[in-house]
Amino acid sequence: MLRAGKTLGVFAVITTAIVAITYAITESQIIENERQALLKSLHELIPENRHDNDLYTDTKTLDIAALNFRGKPVTVYRARTNNQATAAIFSVTAPDGYTGAINLLIAINADDTLAGVRVVSHKETPGLGDAIETEKSDWIRIFDGQSLSNPLPERWKVKKDGGDFDQLTGATITPRAIVKMIKKTLQYFQANHDLVFAKDDNPPTQIQQIQSGAGE
């Protein structure tokens, strides 16, 4: 019995050691990968020539009741040129997609117009709702350059609901959720410029993860 315990213990130590060593070797590469992947999606919205700061570390975590998803605060990436705010990218979640939450990056210029919107992860129906991905269709680009004055706030709906935005063929709930979330984000941003761009309490070492879709 004691001998069995010893054998098991030895195997536990050896296998744990192997995992620990692999972790130590790959850790920095994995962190770098996460950083690159995030920067790549941020740069798709705010190209490198529109900012000279480090988007990855110039972040702010905001606790906004209207935008939080399941109580999780919203992360905002700030773009600046010569310390002048040029744009903010909100990492938010539309909670009411057809098959679950849709994680979005919403980039808004300092003049309140949209620089662009991208879907980070979602579980919408393949072939229908997944046309929100840029790889599948250009639908998500209809928001480029739009703002709360164009169209007016009451027109920030899909066409089926009497608004200005096209829905997708066979999918209305997915675009509806996205339009609603963008509108809420724009409204918050318009009212809180100073708060969003304020330089303060930002912990630069913290690794922000925008991916939260995988895993169930």
Partner: protein, 229 residues
């Protein structure tokens, strides 16, 4: 000890005892990830690596482990190999890792791995166990690739899409659009398509097998009354 018959091990892994077609083990990842060729290839490689690693390790230590201890030790070994493969993919194949996501850690629950460890590696030498792990892994990968190609062609009209996620940007152009202006066939992309596809592959395998046995029977002029189902 009798001469190890590597040919027989190979034939078993790839055909006669194929993990996906005959043993019907590990169907959860098989069905879930086989929506495109590249996804299938990624999971196939990862599973094969884990199978080789755990088969060889178990075979190596098989004489040090008492009977009653073997299951916990096997689980420890398999779990660490899966974790190592997961970390390596996360570090060096990040985009593919994001697509395969939860199915990499889930390899640990793929019964075909513990089945091979228990049924083969625990009773055979290291070299034979290596061959068994390799061929079983390849057999599993082959079915994954076949199913992945079928579903991708029927579902999206393409083949080898997203190859750049696995092989880098130089391979972005190897995507073949086999059917132009294809609106897609949702059933093939969704899970039911995976079940139907696998069913068809198993049926095809049985037809080929039945013909082969009939031919053998005809040659030897023996009447085969009933083939084992």
């Amino acid at each position: 000890m009798a001469q190890t018959d590597y040919k027989k091990i190979t034939r078993n892994g790839l055909w006669h005892n194929n993990p996906a077609l005959i043993q019907l083990l590990g169907l959860c990842p098989l069905l879930a990830v086989s929506s495109t060729f590249i996804n299938a290839l990624g999971l196939g490689i990862a599973t094969t690596l884990v199978m080789i690693g755990s088969n060889v390790t178990v075979s190596f230590v098989r004489n040090q482990i008492k009977q009653e201890l073997r299951i916990p030790v096997f689980v420890l070994i398999i779990a660490s190999f899966v974790t190592v493969v997961e970390l390596l993919m996360h570090a060096y194949w990040h985009d593919l890792y994001k697509i395969l996501g939860i199915f990499i850690p889930l390899i640990v629950t793929n019964c075909v791995i513990i089945a091979r460890v228990e049924a083969f590696a625990a009773k055979n030498d290291v070299k034979a166990s290596f061959v068994d792990g390799l061929t079983m892994g390849l057999g599993f990968t082959a079915v994954l690739l076949l199913l992945g190609s079928m579903r991708e062609i029927i579902g999206q009209g393409t083949l080898f899409s997203h190859a750049h996620l696995m092989f880098g940007d130089t391979f972005r152009d190897i995507q073949l659009t086999l059917i132009h202006d294809y609106s897609g066939f949702l059933l093939a992309v969704l899970p039911p398509g995976a079940f139907i596809g696998l069913g068809l592959i198993i049926a095809l395998k049985n037809v080929i097998e039945a013909r082969r046995i009939n031919r053998l029977a005809a040659i030897e002029k023996i009447n085969v009354v009933d083939t084992a189902s």
